[in-house]
Amino acid sequence: MYAIECREVRKEFRPEGESPWKRRGAKVRALDGISFTVQDGECFGILGPNGSGKSTLIRLISTLLVPDEGDVLVFGHDVRSAPMQVRRLIHRVSVEASFFKKLSAQENLDYASGLYGLERGEARARAREILMRLGLPKEKVGAPLEEMSRGQQQKVAIARALLTSPTLLLLDEPTTGLDPRSRRDVQEFIEEVRAVHSASIVLSTHDMQEAERLCDRVAIIRGGRFIALDTPANLAVRFGNGEGLEAAFLNLTGEEPNLDEEEIDG
């Protein structure tokens, strides 16, 4: 069974700030017919410029948005008709850490683990283990989140996701804003999670090396469409003149994408 199956997914938004009784503005097409599958145990990368639809796609898989058209299945469960089943299998790390900022990491994680019905003592022990593993200073665990750096907050967000042992982990730019060492800590941890828990992973990132290092396959998204989908090595060969994924990315997302739809597979 596929970890994820997306079929012709479309999503539009009405621009933010537009009130219901004002004249309706032009819609933004965030996703424009996306189809792909992710194998069980695969790490699937999404690369794309700002505003290309990466987060929207990840939100659709996380049941935080409903597709306008098309289907999204997570281990065979439809996000629309069976969101609860999907929610039991997933967790997500977003680029924004999103915590109660006055509460400590401990209190935030207590809340998160409680919502998932985890036993408090066990969850605390596991959270500590993950935070230590990610190199969060011990004395920070009891400090309010607002006193932590962005990178430290991001580590707590990763702990929140892994606490529930998700079968499918959705990582939306998990390492954006981290220093090189923290980034490596997180990347190593993602590899470890894959190896130990055989979780499937979707990872959006702006870091080409990260995608090359972690992902089995990478999709390049632009304007809400996948314009290429292949292994990082193949993408580099096919679109980057062998000069690496970054060259491929720049070629593909440049102003003039001289590409046909046939070049997309997956």
């Binding site: 009130s19 996380s62 609860m84 509460l103 809340y111 998160a112 919502l115 998932y116 019905g117």
Partner: protein, 269 residues
Amino acid sequence: MISLRSERRAAGAVIARNFSLIRRYLGWELVFAFYNAVNALTIGLIGLAEPGPGQGLRVLYLSIGALLWNFLSVLFFEVSNSVMWERWEGTIEYSFMAPVRRVTYLFGVCAYAVVYGLARTIVVLVAIALFFRVPLAQADLPGALVVLAASSVPFIGLGLFGAIMPMLSAERGAQATQVIQGVILLVSGIYYPISVLPHWLQPVSWLSPATYTLSAVRGAVLQGQSVASLLPTALGLLAAGAVLVPAGLYAFAVAERYALRTGKLKRNG
């Protein structure tokens, strides 16, 4: 399969999280409690402005209004504000992505609101008791408590309607909740009999559960009406709650679906 234990744990987590927040905002809590108490006392003092035999009862009449409004407005505010706050912090996506039924989550929110509302009201009650010498010989306090308990149910229902607003529009939602609260304050006869309201406004009073709560609690405390004679009002309030709570939950579900369709939950990313 939904395990009862994990649902209970989830509701407990919401309550515990809110109490943790109180601890972190303790300074504000003290300021709010102080302000509430002083506000209630100044209203009670109006009862002493006119000399004469009825002073004690007038103070009591006004104090009951202040106390009840304190309880009901805190209840309403806490329920409706909880979603607002989660939106503000950006945690709402995480709370709503958790495999927990919305009813369970909202049960936690409401249970906390009741406990917290009672605590805040007790502070005001103590202040009033220490400040005024109010005549309580005639009062039927159990009757008053029965009515108060019953009234919290429809108010939770109203709070749920308040809670859906922030999902429809981040800022306007919060504004709408303030307006709803203001209207309830105006029409429910908190500090005066509703007969002094302009005629065209009086029918609106009949729609507010607070109107019935106030008049029944005053009946109990000022005239010593028995529990038995207050029972119809209490049952009426419960019946209103039996309509308002499910309706509020349903409206919440509809609003959540709307938010998931239109992307109103997200902040950025």
